[in-house]
Symmetry: C2
């Protein structure tokens, strides 16, 4: 067995955790150890309060007047700036709207328009699939565009970046393995070849400090319903570096991105700055739940978050490898914390059945085909003791082979 | 003065209104006569209950499991079929997702792909602008595509439809005047020329019976936050006639429209039928409020709705023209009910100030530049007596010129 701390040591880690008080802000079900915040973040009393007020007061009582009096119209930009602080973006460069998929489409078109003499999009074969699917959609509407994939056209993404590449679309943290890319290094490589970069932050926003401005990133997208805890399907975000704002062209040119949306002009005229990524009317109730979630984030120190995240993932690896040795689990995530996001994946030939058995026992992670068990660690509401208990249950399942009888089903959902 | 009923007659109309009981299902602010349900529909206790349960139970307690146990994943299609009943669409042809603007983009691309030898999009200069803006976005990504506008390139849309036209994008009810187009006639005209038709139902879905299947329509879009009362920014819908399903190609090819979304395949493969219009993860909380609103619609007879709508709009015209004669108001909506949606617009040189004064007195309609006052009538919660009182206040404002002092501001918002 590998070395791992005993329960007394783990209790001491919780007792001195500087983020310990945050857990009380969240609504967590009894009897559940929730290790799937990388798929859907937990609810909070702040999110519920915003939702309640948006529904009963703003919609119910103020009705159409709330577009102005409750600031509905400004929410995409207001919330964008608050997400911006968490991803290293100065104000005015981030907007919350639509979905990650649709925002990728906007950014790919914007990037291709900025590089009219180039036509290649580079992405990853191991990307969360929707990134590739959206790139395929762009290629289908741009006669000369084409797609190169890491793992398909070359083993390493850097080999694919040359003078024909307009844009590199890449995940900051891999959804399956949790591997963290070196943002600054890959961005430099792209820029050195005259290409632009779009970073997909779905699995890093709220999971670790992200420094978009510092790394000289061009564009980024991400979702708000994972580590940011914005609620199921909460709108996504787009970041665009200010230096590109004047030249952005994207085809989803709806009324909300117009320079004068209330003038009802007959022809489109793009609004200023990041606003031109807006398109149609946004789901206000879902945005207001996200606002509540971001109220909590305003109090979070991102360095403390990262420190706890690394301690959580290190501890989980040590506990699993220590307590569950000999049961065929294999670490799929980087062992080096510096190369890891806030999740840990283990493979096992019976990963699906074991995850079903874990969920039936109240330990919620998720399964990714063909053989991955994925566990996400959310420093705001996951305790060290949670991991001790979760691994105890995992070990019990493996030792008694109870996964062979598991039949409680949960279909894998949403990245 | 024109003839109009007295208050006793109006009370009798309310007393015998077959939809009278529906008003109690809605949450309406005290002291307000709400004539802006054509911009943002009123809240309902059913919508609040669904929202509450989605937030506290499904998100808060069940978390990721709700994707299956609460049917989150199936909601776009489930709700789509329920909207379908209100717009004359048999099951399996309607899906709720994204925004009207984005859905127009999908449909324009799908239509152009179905008519590869044609390149012209026809629309209306007087359209709600986002329809034109999205068509411009499509034209920007399709080198050979072009746009013809009624009122710009010819006075009547029918003159613009010839053998070069791939698709006609047209509003069923004009957002500003309330004019209702003859859906069957224009669809026949397009089909006779080999073109496809996209109907924008934003101002007709829930305002009157719509018969998409019966009129042999190809495609339609619409929003759910006006007459359908789904909540601010609730997701929009798409209809596609079943005969086109096998051939639909649209570039917003996200993971939710994939044939096997949970297989995490590396390449896109479009799902079956209407599902292929889905793209990214939908805002579940906003969708659940819409579900509550649709529960009410399940009980509504659309013929009774239309009958009451016509009586409301006829009465409003009679009251305004009768009580406010000589004050410079001019009817902008068709006088013939058969050519009118569920709204009435009047122009006045001081329309903006008069609408401000009305809102300050609790009568909420809206203003559209340069000189239109728009009043929407929602048969589920507007009473005939509401109109009597609203016009009394309007007459008082006009008679005393109190609009000259009006300064309470509301910016026109959202179609």
């Amino acid at each position: 067995m590998s070395a791992f701390p005993d329960f007394a040591a783990i209790e001491a880690m919780d007792a001195t955790d500087p983020l310990r008080s945050m857990r009380a802000r969240f609504v967590l079900p009894r009897g559940v150890i929730y290790l799937d915040g990388n798929s859907l973040g937990a609810a909070s009393t702040a999110a519920f309060a915003e939702l309640q007020s948006a529904a009963t007061e703003e919609w119910g009582q103020e009705l159409i007047r709330s577009w102005n009096t409750a600031g509905w119209f400004d929410m995409p930009l207001d919330l964008g700036d608050r997400v911006g602080r968490l991803i290293g973006a100065a104000a005015g460069q981030t907007v919350v709207c639509d979905t990650t998929s649709i925002n990728i489409y906007k950014l790919l078109h914007a990037a291709l328009a900025l590089r009219p003499d180039r036509s290649v999009i580079v992405s990853e074969g191991g990307s969360f699939p929707t990134d590739i699917y959206m790139a395929e959609g762009v290629v289908a509407t741009q006669a000369d565009a084409s797609l190169r994939l890491e793992g398909v056209d070359a083993p390493d993404i850097e080999e694919l970046i040359d003078g024909d590449v307009a844009v590199v679309l890449v995940n900051h943290v891999n959804y399956k393995t949790g591997e963290l890319r070196d943002m600054a290094k890959l961005t430099r490589k792209a820029h050195a070849n005259g290409a632009l970069v779009i970073w997909d932050l779905c699995h890093s926003a709220g999971a670790l400090p992200v420094g978009l401005d510092g790394a000289n990133v061009d564009f980024a997208v991400g979702c708000t319903y994972k580590y940011l805890n914005g609620g199921p399907g909460a709108p996504a975000f787009i970041y665009a570096a200010e230096r590109h704002h004047g030249d952005i062209r994207q085809p989803l040119s709806g009324w909300w991105g117009h320079a004068r949306p209330f003038a009802f002009e007959q022809r489109y005229a793009a609004g200023e700055g990041i606003r031109r990524f807006l398109c149609g009317t946004q789901p206000i109730l879902s945005l207001r739940a996200l606002k509540g979630a971001l109220d909590i984030w305003d109090e979070v120190d991102m360095a403390a978050l990262r420190e706890k995240s690394l301690r959580l993932t290190d501890l989980f690896i040590a506990l699993v490898e220590g307590k569950c040795a000999g049961h065929g689990l294999k670490l799929e995530s980087p062992r080096d914390g510096a190369r890891r996001g806030s999740q840990v994946s283990f493979s096992h030939p019976n990963a699906y059945e074991i995850m079903q058995a874990l969920i039936a026992r109240g330990v919620i992670g998720d399964f990714r085909a063909p053989s991955t068990m994925r566990f996400g660690f959310t420093p705001l509401y996951t305790s060290y003791a949670d991991l001790w208990h979760a691994v105890d249950i995992l070990e019990d399942i493996l030792r008694h082979d109870t996964w062979r009888e598991a039949h409680f089903g949960i279909r894998a959902a949403v990245t």
